[in-house]
């Protein structure tokens, strides 16, 4: 009951006129920052952190939370309208959001993203309020083997349910994972895979360089080639009636994804060093795994938009849990928020809930209010985003190329990466011609930096025995499901051969 009183106090605090103004300003700024490829919530929060020293800590954190939420919503917009993920958290949204937009259903995709984000945010607040201390202890029991098993499951869903050529899918995953390993070996500190001894590879390959190369440049070249430049963008239309109808449709067609994303995203968000990106990618994979029509994913299934969008918002709240209870940030943005809290004289850790309950629940309350206003601001901007989509393709295409180049540079501030992005774009164009699925490579480069260290730590823990992934109570079942999924295509082939030989014999 005390918690509820504190939470409602936090909600009332967030609804103060000055705080409300900061929330609306924050979500609008966040929306546009999140939309811009190369910039994400981390940039917005980091850049605007000093401004918050001008207002009291409670208002400051409310403003930053509003930017954080706004950016979470914004990332989806460029994924859907332009086909370029605005941030790593919106990579999975591109898989189905872009095909929906290309089918003239951009408004459905945008509304689904907004509604799912709101649902994810709401569920996460409820989970946070009810189970914060319990979940923190469960998350702590997740060691390296469990986290690696989760990563394996994410890759396995692409292999088992991809519907694409299996060797090409596996090759795509491995390519993304190897690219993620470029730079320095984290354990020994030695340079690794510095291709042709070019020094630009020393800082690794940022996932955005590959994602923008594939989706921004490769995809656009492919669209121009297949349509011979004779398309006038999509035929998306928008009206108030349309938004209401789309909201209804998004709830009907995306409820499964929203539910999975809200719960799974929250839990993955809690895991230290995980956060919203793996949360959204895994939710996409699990939604596909549990769907009756897994083959419709990647073709423009609203569930494929709902799952990652609900998950990334839910994970944002989830990642606050280790930050507040243990002082461990779950994402780069929460790391900056943590820094802000230290500057404001607050010490994150187990004692924070006891010593500063007003601050903690005020923060959670502000998250909820921000989440609501992010939905309102986002829905009111949808006509603008649709208008962008209805621009003639000969204007939209060069704008996307410009955004890709600028976004690629903004991500790493290195021209080497822009050249690399061009290379990836051209390669993606040709690989797509030969039916190589490229989404698994993007997924792998995002999850690679988590997968490799957890595998190595696990094997070190077991003195090289891979059975560690099977004989632990949490990791075991997850690994078994992953193995079954990987073997699923092989089992299908055997089944088909047996049934065809049976028919011959008959």
């Amino acid at each position: 009951m005390d918690i509820l009183a504190l939470l409602s106090g936090g909600l009332l605090e967030a609804l103060q006129p000055i705080n409300l103004l900061l929330i609306i300003l924050g979500v609008t700024l966040g929306l546009f920052i999140g939309m811009m490829p190369g910039l994400g919530s981390v940039n917005g929060v980091a850049i605007l952190l000093p401004i918050t020293f001008l207002v009291p800590p409670a208002s400051a954190i409310i403003f930053l939370a509003a930017i954080y939420y706004g950016a979470m919503y914004g990332g989806a917009i460029s994924s859907i309208t332009l086909g370029i993920p605005g941030a790593s958290t919106a990579v999975a949204t591109t898989f189905d959001g872009r095909p929906l937009a290309m089918k003239g259903k951009a408004s459905l995709a945008l509304v689904t993203a907004a509604v799912a984000s709101f649902v994810g945010g709401t569920v996460s607040i409820v989970l946070f309020t009810a189970f914060a201390p319990l979940l923190a202890s469960v998350a702590l029991s997740f060691g390296s083997p469990e986290i690696f098993a989760l990563m394996l499951l994410a890759f396995a869903t692409f292999v088992g349910l991809g519907g694409d050529d299996i060797p090409k899918t596996i090759l795509s995953i491995c390519l993304g994972l190897v690219f993620a390993a470029v730079g320095f070996d984290e354990i020994s500190g030695a340079p690794r895979l510095v291709f042709l001894d070019i020094s630009g590879f020393l800082h690794g390959i940022n996932f955005l360089v590959l994602a923008i190369g594939v989706y921004g440049i490769g995809e656009m070249l492919w669209t121009l080639d297949t349509t011979r430049g004779k398309i006038t963008s999509t035929e998306a239309k928008m009206s108030l009636k349309g938004i209401v109808a789309d909201t209804k449709q998004s709830l009907v067609e995306g409820w499964r994804g929203m539910t999975i994303g809200s719960f799974l995203g929250f839990f993955v968000g809690i895991l230290p060093a995980a956060g919203a990106t793996p949360g959204s990618l895994m939710s996409y994979g699990v939604a596909k795994l549990m769907s009756k029509k897994p083959e419709s994913y990647g073709q423009g299934n609203p569930d494929g938009v709902a799952a990652p969008e609900a998950a990334n918002n839910s994970a944002s709240t989830g990642s606050m849990l280790p930050m507040l209870t243990l002082g461990i940030p779950g994402s780069p943005t929460t790391a900056i928020l943590l820094g802000g809290m230290v500057i404001w004289g607050l010490t994150p850790g187990p004692r924070l809930f006891a010593e500063q309950p007003e601050f903690v629940w005020g923060l959670i309350g502000s998250f909820y209010v921000s989440n609501f206003f992010a939905l309102v601001v986002n829905l009111s901007f949808i006509p603008l985003f649709i208008w962008m989509l209805r621009m003639p393709f000969t204007i939209l295409a060069p704008m996307i190329f410009v955004l890709s180049i600028v976004g690629g540079y903004a991500a790493t501030k290195d021209m080497h990466d822009v050249w690399l992005m061009l290379g990836f774009g051209l390669s993606a164009f040709f690989l797509r011609k030969f039916d190589y699925p490229l989404a698994p490579a993007v997924l792998a480069i995002v999850l690679g930096p988590i997968a490799e260290p957890t595998l190595r730590q696990s094997l070190l823990l077991s003195s090289g025995d891979p059975m560690i992934f099977l004989n632990r109570p949490i990791a075991g079942p997850i690994t078994v499901i992953a193995i079954i999924l990987i073997l699923l295509p092989l089992l299908k082939v055997i089944k088909n051969k047996m049934s065809s030989s049976g028919m011959k014999n008959a």
Binding site: I47, D165, R192, D225, F401, V402, A410, V418
Partner: protein
């Protein structure tokens, strides 16, 4: 397309072998007390890639993959022309960044694409090509404090003047 499928698989096989070889610069085995060596993860992943390229080539021999069944060319004459014009424009854009700045290169590219490839009017092409870099400049440099490449020395007076507006 079938020949293209073999060539692509071949290029990826060479890339896999190269990455395996690069991985061996670090230990690819298990080091007692330290766990898997720094090269093990990329080495074995590249090895899996190599196996996959073999399977892709095998499927192409059996003509089971859609590209290996297709008799169409990878790129016809018009496709080649589009690719050269568009990708060539992007390539020139990136090459110009170091000379006339990110914003200058953006302006040239937009004008080239809109006017020459898009066949839009001179007025519209010039307006978009001029306004977009200015909006990007104020968004990135003033609001986000992200500095873009400014090109060679001769662009300095212009950017100094623009900076006086920001600061």
């Amino acid at each position: 397309m079938r020949r293209g499928e073999f060539i692509t698989a071949g290029i990826l096989a060479v890339l896999s072998i190269y990455m395996m070889w690069k991985s061996t610069e670090l230990d690819v085995g298990y080091i007692s007390g330290e766990g898997p060596g720094g090269g093990a993860w990329p080495f074995w992943l590249s090895a899996i890639m190599l196996v996959c390229t073999g399977l892709i080539a095998y499927n192409a021999v059996r003509r089971t993959s859609p590209p290996s069944q297709s008799t169409e060319p990878v790129l016809d004459a018009e496709g080649r022309k589009t690719l050269i014009q568009v990708f060539g424009g992007i390539f020139a854009f990136v090459a110009l960044v170091g000379i006339i700045s990110m914003y200058g290169a953006m302006m040239v590219f937009l004008f080239y694409y809109l006017w020459f490839l898009g066949r839009h009017s001179l007025k519209l092409s010039a307006a978009i090509a001029l306004i977009t870099p200015v909006v990007f400049f104020f968004f990135f440099e003033a609001l986000m404090r992200v500095t873009m490449p400014k090109g060679m020395g001769f662009t300095e007076p212009l950017f100094n003047w623009l900076n006086t507006i920001i600061y």
